[in-house]
């Protein structure tokens, strides 16, 4: 079912390509379960472009992170393919003036969910994967031992199972029909709520165990489209020196506090931090909690309105609820 979508994406991009300098999209990766970002510069590259539930990466970061994708020809725009969640990162970046809306051309793709390859492998076992495709609500993988079928619900990424915004919030062109959201935002924090029901000690134990695995490889940070400090991140600097090189749980806690609090009121829950983590630490959950807080305290949802001011960069003198 995604052959058609890919075809439509290629055609749409092709039509817009003369006006664009580069289009950031996805192409096949090293095996059928993996896609990798691709930067389409001319029509000859179009055949690489793909769309499928394996297109997991949020590409918006490439527009702002050094060396950022920029139009060499100022009269042209940068094209970018986004899923619903990805588009919210774009909105946040526009809001913070890292991107100008009129300098990008957004190919929006309504999305029914992306596949978490680790969940597939866990259900496996799979060896020598030859093909993988999503058919309706099933994932079909062929490997050396033949075909395997998985229920899509069992292999979707965690963030997709609680997706409230499957349709791009901003787009210049929409590829495919809008999708009905799985849940409303208010109801998308089930996992956070389950954590909240635990005792303080259990939560501490949970995070100590999880965060202790952190390698501080900074994949979560670098994969985050809104972690705009990049090489200047205070997790690594000595001026100022927030963290040491100690491999201690406290250090890891503080690193994730820094990461999360810098995203408070900004995170769009694209889940890239969690997906990038080689140790499978549920780091997006931390930001989900912060988003739940800003939603409850300030009725703010990040990445929805390009004109809005992130809640921690402003104040309301009269607010007494706080």
């Amino acid at each position: 079912m995604f052959e058609n979508a890919t075809k439509q994406l290629r055609e749409t991009v092709e039509a817009a390509l003369p006006e664009l300098n580069t289009v950031v999209g996805w192409r096949a990766g090293y095996d059928p379960l993996h896609m990798t970002p691709v930067f389409i510069k001319n029509a000859g590259d179009l055949s690489k472009l793909e769309w499928s539930p394996f297109c997991v990466q949020n590409l918006s970061g490439y527009l702002v992170k050094d060396p950022a994708v920029r139009a060499q020809d100022p009269s042209k725009k940068i094209g970018i393919c986004v899923k619903g969640c990805d588009s919210r990162s774009l909105v946040a970046l526009i809001q913070e003036k890292f991107i100008e809306r009129n300098q990008i051309h957004v190919f929006g793709i309504p999305c029914r969910g992306t596949v978490d390859w680790r969940r597939v492998m866990k259900l496996g076992p799979l060896t020598g994967i030859q093909s993988a495709r999503v058919e309706e609500s099933r994932l079909v993988v062929e490997d050396a031992n033949g075909g395997h079928t998985f229920a899509l619900e069992d292999v979707l990424a965690r963030k997709c199972l609680r997706c409230a915004h499957p349709n791009p919030v901003i787009h210049d062109v929409l590829i495919g029909e809008p999708v009905t959201p799985r849940v409303a935002v208010e109801n998308s924090y089930g996992e956070v709520e389950r954590m909240e029901e635990q005792s303080l000690e259990d939560r501490l134990g949970f995070w100590k165990k999880e965060l202790d695995k952190c390698l501080r490889c900074y994949a979560c940070r670098n994969a985050c489209p809104l972690c705009v400090c990049q090489d200047r991140c205070i997790a690594e600097t000595r001026e100022p020196r927030w963290l040491t090189q100690r491999v201690g749980t406290s250090e890891k806690f503080l690193f994730h506090f820094i990461h999360a609090l810098h995203l408070a009121g900004r995170c769009t829950e694209c889940g890239e931090c969690e997906r990038a983590c080689p140790m499978e630490i549920p780091v997006t959950l931390i930001k989900e909690k912060l988003n739940k807080i800003t939603l409850e305290l300030m009725s703010y949802e990040a990445g929805m309105d390009p004109e809005a001011v992130p809640p921690l960069l402003t104040f309301n003198p009269g607010e007494t609820g706080l």
């Binding site: 913070e96 003036k97 600097t237 100022p240 810098h262 001011v309």
Partner: protein
Amino acid sequence: MRIGVFVCQCGTNIAGTVDTQEVARRAGNLPDVAYATSYMYTCSEPGQQEIQRAIREKNLQGVVVAACSPRMHEPTFRRAVERAGLNRFMFEMANIREHVSWINNDREANTRKAAELVEMAVAKLRFNQPLFSSQISVNKRVMVIGGGVAGIQAALDCSDGGLDVVLVERKSSIGGKMAQLDKTFPTVDCSSCILGPKMVDVVQKDNITLHAASEVESISGYVGNFTVEVRKKATYVDWTACTGCGACIEKCPSRKVPDVFNENLANARAINIPFPQAIPKKATINRDYCLHFTKGKCGTCQKVCPTGAVNYEMQDEIVTEQVGAIIVATGYDLFDASVYGEYGGGRYADVISGIQYERILSASGPFGGHIKRPSDGKEPKDIVFIACVGSRDASVGRPYCSGVCCMYIAKQAILTRDHLPDTRVWVFYMDIRAPGKNYDEFVRRAQEEYGVQYIRGRVGKVYPKGDRMVVQGNDTLLGVQVEVEADLVVLATGIEASAGARELAEKLRISYDQYGFYMESHPKLRPVETNTAGVYLAGVCQGPKDIPSSVAMGSAAAAKVQALFSRDTIETNPQVALVNERVCISCGKCIQVCPFGAIQWKELRGGIRKAEVLPSVCQGCGLCNATCPPKAIQLQHATDNQILAEVNALCA
């Protein structure tokens, strides 16, 4: 670094409950501490000399004094270490008196706490850097915003001191509220007689530039170097040509224009000079009523003007003024009495406000100084004054006392009895506030000499009965209900912040209180300064006050400006934010949050821009520092590393 620690005994103030010897001993065990001692009175002259001797003999590079609050003696010790050759920022204080010895008697716990506070101070000091002030040049022109009596006084004082002054007035004439007054308390001298000469002085001074009918559009820059854009509103009369002859006014066919100066008790013309003593005495067209503008068919004034000054095509003009300091004297507005529906203000013609009565009393007022009531022009036989209308009443959001009403009621009552000795006067009041020189005597005169009836109590209701008004209230002293029939009711409306005060405050980046009055730097010790360097306050814009206080404040603000301008340069406070351009990610969040507009973009080569702090504007709050994600902007002397050092000294 070689650090010296001096633990003050403060006589027994500290040593009484803290083992200062032990604190000093433990300090000696801290890294970089090369000298530690305890001293009887460190702030005394010999104490300071001891510090200076140690700096020289022990070759100290930083000093910690553990003593009283830094809010008390930090400047003292900074000067002391500076005299011994250290930079004054290579100094830290640990507060072991107010925060330790005075709040608990447990000697052991206190000693431990003091030692830890010293450890924190030492830890911070290890990250201190010498900081240096820089000099910025001062443009010795001053702008006064508001041409009421406070602004006029400030302008004249500055002018007398030889400064160039730019006076900006929103209305077409200066004079402010005082110009509308008939007489002033407690001397009962003629308001325009004492104010008029000052107004005339303003135009006669060569070094005062007056922009009337003008408003401040925008303000940028910082102390010593402000750039102010002033919007000169279109008056449709070329004031350089207008002689103020009044020919146009006489001939203007639009005659039903509310006379604002007379508080709408009379009519004016669409082209008008607000009052005979107006400065500048120039005509202004009111577009809302001028037939040329409303109907597009009159041109009388243009025809009759002997100097051809009328120009219907006139546009607003923006004038840019460069000044080094700004005095804000924007005055006040009066409370809208109609908020109290039960008093009937605004509903009944014979229920009027104090300022309206002031115009009625005035010889140049709508009735030529004859006391008549607005409804039918009859002389009132009974007049009731109601005090505290929009003052001392939290239910209308005005819990404060307006300070002048008791006095102007007394004045108006006295004047009433002077004009109409047979007229009876009642005053409903809550308390009499008359704390000024000769004020209480004045109120007593009203009561005792002039027979004014003071009734202590709130008025519940005012309603018409025939052609008179009935005032129903309590006499709380007698504990009885009172009803007074009156021909005229005067509501002593209180003072409120000027409309537009908040908007101007945002432009000036000064703060205001919940009522919109501007905030002074310190309510006792810095009453005319604001927290924005180079911006001063005068008059009622800061809070209710009477004429002498306003005038005094105008002079005080002028004196502050003179002091500021007495030097060619200003020394900046080095405890400001500083951007490390290599780390700045150009996100602009610091610019977004800075309450003072002290951060701006700096364009570098290649279209790159970085945040840049204007050290003379920065007030050192550190909000930018807390906001900056990569911590590229650091508040000097309270950097992340310095605060972290203190935190780490405690928890790590």
